[in-house]
């Protein structure tokens, strides 16, 4: 079990990580999700012990490891760049942690062969890393991390530099490999979809703060605040300001300072938001909860102007303007809609989200 207790990191006056509390249970897969420079890497480095926290303490299985040099910790790490020892063969690369640990030759040979098999590197064992393709290089790095059987494995955007399809395959393999060992896995990524595909737990990061931590799907479905919702939505979540007046949300197409007509639109408040107090709110709706057909009888609709539609095979993304706001609608199947049309878009209000002026999510859960 890895515990962060008020851990913070300040480098030459700049706060990279604000005081953070985090508990990662053994045998779990934990995703750090956030845009570049949100502090993912800084957090990983603190976990590895490569950096010393400015304040707070790090505990591993109860014992305080805050100052412990990285050699004396049982961790493994894989970087976004393909980091291997260029002067060693793939075999030696994978073997190196075991050699240092002083394992016997035949143990090393057995383990290396096993992991190489798992990562489909067996035919490449006597090649040099730099003579391999990107995918193979990264698999070597992963193999070295796995063979060590570390109790804490840190992965910093390990697939970011790989081909889309390759990424997809490895994304499928990794969780299996993770599941096998009882270690704690921490996986940093910028892509919400990747977090969802990996499952496990997710901590969303924003400007050096963990905005929320929990089961991946529930963080995705019930973000604690607008920032989390934004970080954890792809396509980006659609938002608009409104005022709750009793049984209705009242929206102005024209937001404060914005362009667009000042027509009033009223939406019936869905059950799960009934308890929200009257007053100004920010409404949020995921692109796949907007649709061009009624999802159910008498679903409320909005007038929007179409811009572009992007077809991604199984899905289509229809970009529209609501007032002066760029919104995205996610439709299943192929939907190619001409630009500059005025159309109706239906909201599935069962999944409507409402955020207070402080950005916190209001009332019940958007199922």
């Amino acid at each position: 079990m890895l515990e962060f207790i008020n851990v913070s990191k300040v480098v030459s006056g700049q706060t990279h990580i604000h005081p953070t509390n985090l508990v990662l249970e053994r045998g779990t897969l934990n995703v750090l999700l956030g845009p570049t420079l949100s502090g993912k890497t800084s957090l990983l480095r603190l976990m590895a012990g490569l950096d010393k926290p400015t304040s707070g303490s790090v505990r591993f299985n109860g014992e305080n490891v805050t100052g412990l040099p990285v050699q004396r910790r049982n961790v493994a790490m894989v970087y976004q760049q393909f980091i291997n020892y260029p002067s060693m063969t793939v075999y030696e690369n994978i073997a190196s942690p075991l050699r240092v640990a002083g394992e016997s030759a035949d143990v090393i040979d057995r383990e290396v062969k096993k992991v190489a098999d798992l990562m489909r590197l067996s035919p490449l064992l006597d090649r040099l890393p730099l003579s391999l393709s990107g995918g193979q290089q990264q698999r070597t790095a992963l193999a070295r991390a796995i063979v060590k059987k570390a109790s804490l494995v840190l992965l910093d955007e390990p697939l970011a530099n790989l081909d889309y399809k390759l990424r997809e395959e490895m994304r499928e393999e990794l969780p299996k490999i993770f599941a096998a060992s009882g270690s704690i896995f921490v996986y940093a990524t910028t892509e919400p979809s990747e977090a969802l595909l990996l499952g496990g737990n997710t901590a969303t990061l924003h400007q050096g703060r963990v905005s929320q931590f929990g089961k991946t799907v529930s963080v995705y479905r019930n973000p604690r605040d607008l920032i989390t919702a934004r970080t954890f939505s792809d396509p980006p979540i659609n938002t608009h300001t409104a005022v709750k007046e009793g049984k209705n949300f009242v929206l102005l197409e024209k937001e404060a300072g914005g362009k667009g007509k000042a027509t009033k639109i009223t939406l019936p408040v869905p059950a799960h938001l009934a308890t929200v107090a009257d007053g100004p709110v920010t409404l949020g709706v995921q692109p796949h909860h907007l649709s061009l057909e009624e999802p159910y009888a008498k679903a409320p609709s909005l007038k929007v102007k179409t811009q572009v539609s992007e077809i991604a095979g199984s899905e289509s993304f229809v970009h529209v303007l609501f007032g002066d706001k760029r919104w995205v609608i996610l439709e299943h199947g192929v939907r190619n809609i001409d630009p500059d049309l005025d159309i109706d878009v239906y909201l599935d209000t069962r999944h409507l989200m409402a955020f207070g002026s402080d950005g916190m999510t209001l009332a019940g859960t958007a199922g």
Partner: protein, 356 residues
């Protein structure tokens, strides 16, 4: 703006090619319409970048000709082909300001300053760089630099074609959304011929109205995103496009029926299969439903990825993936049924349609 003809183009790097495997680019013979938006999609090393560089004139093909609007430009150097190209990694002139970077291609062609100003301003706004216009390019972040490279590609109004070589590699997911749709809009307004190289199916499908799928130095299929998704010509296309890729089952064809393991599926037409061909049935996870009747399957695991669920399991003794809508639930003893429109039949990996 121009129509592009690729006339029996082959290319091999280095020495005289002997076997077909020596070619980085096997045989490309196509016409690309004026004002079209094309995407070259394929895994790394499939020859897509080679093809792009042949069009831009950075690489000269070993064999064949390339024509712009019927004019042979095979032997013209890049600068005389009047094209714009955006590279995978940002290329900016560090010592110039952002504004001068964007103005550079125009000034080199002696465009009058006032016209330069209007063009550059337009691009600056589109890329949301207006406030940085007077900053030196050197200080900028990678994605800002890449925006500048994009801008330099888009600023000229007279180009034959604009070529993109994986331009969004260094861009964050959220910004990708904005830039992609802006590119698409820009294409609609400007009607430039655009060629976009990428390994990312989402980028390819969303950007292009014609996607060129390449594999091992060959073009496997050219088609609209819909075609590629619904009627993949080759099992590779089925696998490469869509995530998860298409499920492919070995089958025996008997008239209008296809036999998977010990159950047989009605495929609605009798495909022509010649003797000894390997026959397969391909169906995308999106065209399968888990119901109470149909073929029995075993479920290994269910991935809830938010807006949909991916069911992984086994059907007729082989791995299968099925996509289900958010919130849909899975019956106790699951069976699978195929939707007819999603069924494709393959002989030796190439599609045999109703049409032919």
């Amino acid at each position: 703006m121009a129509r592009i003809n690729l006339d029996h183009i082959r290319h091999a790097y280095g020495i005289r090619p002997t076997s077909p495997n020596d070619y980085a680019l096997r045989e490309v013979h196509h016409e690309w319409a004026d004002g079209g938006a094309y995407a070259l999609l394929g895994p790394s090393g499939c020859g897509k970048t080679t093809l792009l560089n042949i069009i831009s004139g950075i690489v000269r093909p070993s064999e064949g000709h390339i024509l712009f609007d019927g004019k042979d430009v095979t032997h013209l150097p890049t600068e005389e082909r009047n094209i714009a190209q955006v590279f995978q990694f940002p290329v900016v002139y560090d010592t110039m300001t952002v504004y001068d970077n964007l103005a550079f291609p125009l000034r080199n062609r002696n465009v009058p300053e006032d016209l330069v100003a209007t063009r550059v301003k337009h691009i600056l706004e589109m890329l949301e760089l207006t406030d940085r216009a007077d900053k030196k390019a050197r200080g900028l972040t990678a994605d800002q630099k890449q925006k500048i490279s994009l801008g330099r590609g888009l600023v000229r109004s007279d180009v034959n074609a604009i070529l993109f070589d994986e331009p969004l590699t260094v861009i964050d997911p959220h910004l990708k959304w904005v830039l992609r749709s802006q590119l698409k809009q820009l294409h609609r307004h400007s009607k430039f011929t655009m060629v976009y190289v990428t390994h990312d199916q989402t980028e390819a499908l969303t950007f292009a109205d014609k996607v060129v799928v390449m594999y091992d130095g060959q073009i496997v299929q050219i088609g609209t995103p819909a075609e590629l998704f619904e009627k993949p010509k080759h099992t590779f296309v089925g696998y490469f496009i869509g995530s998860p890729g298409m499920n492919v089952f070995p089958v025996e064809i008997a008239g209008k029926k296809a036999r998977i393991g010990n159950v047989s599926v009605d495929i609605g037409f009798a495909p022509k299969i010649s003797k000894g061909q390997k026959t397969e049935l391909g169906i995308r996870p999106e065209f399968m439903d888990i119901t109470r009747k149909g073929m029995p399957m075993t479920i290994r695991k269910v991935e809830d990825i938010g807006r949909q669920k991916i069911v992984r399991g086994e059907l007729a003794g082989q791995a299968v993936s099925i996509v289900m809508k958010e919130g849909s639930d899975i019956p106790a003893d699951p069976h699978v049924s195929f939707r007819d429109e999603g069924i494709n039949i393959y002989a030796d990996s190439w599609r045999v349609g109703q049409e032919d």
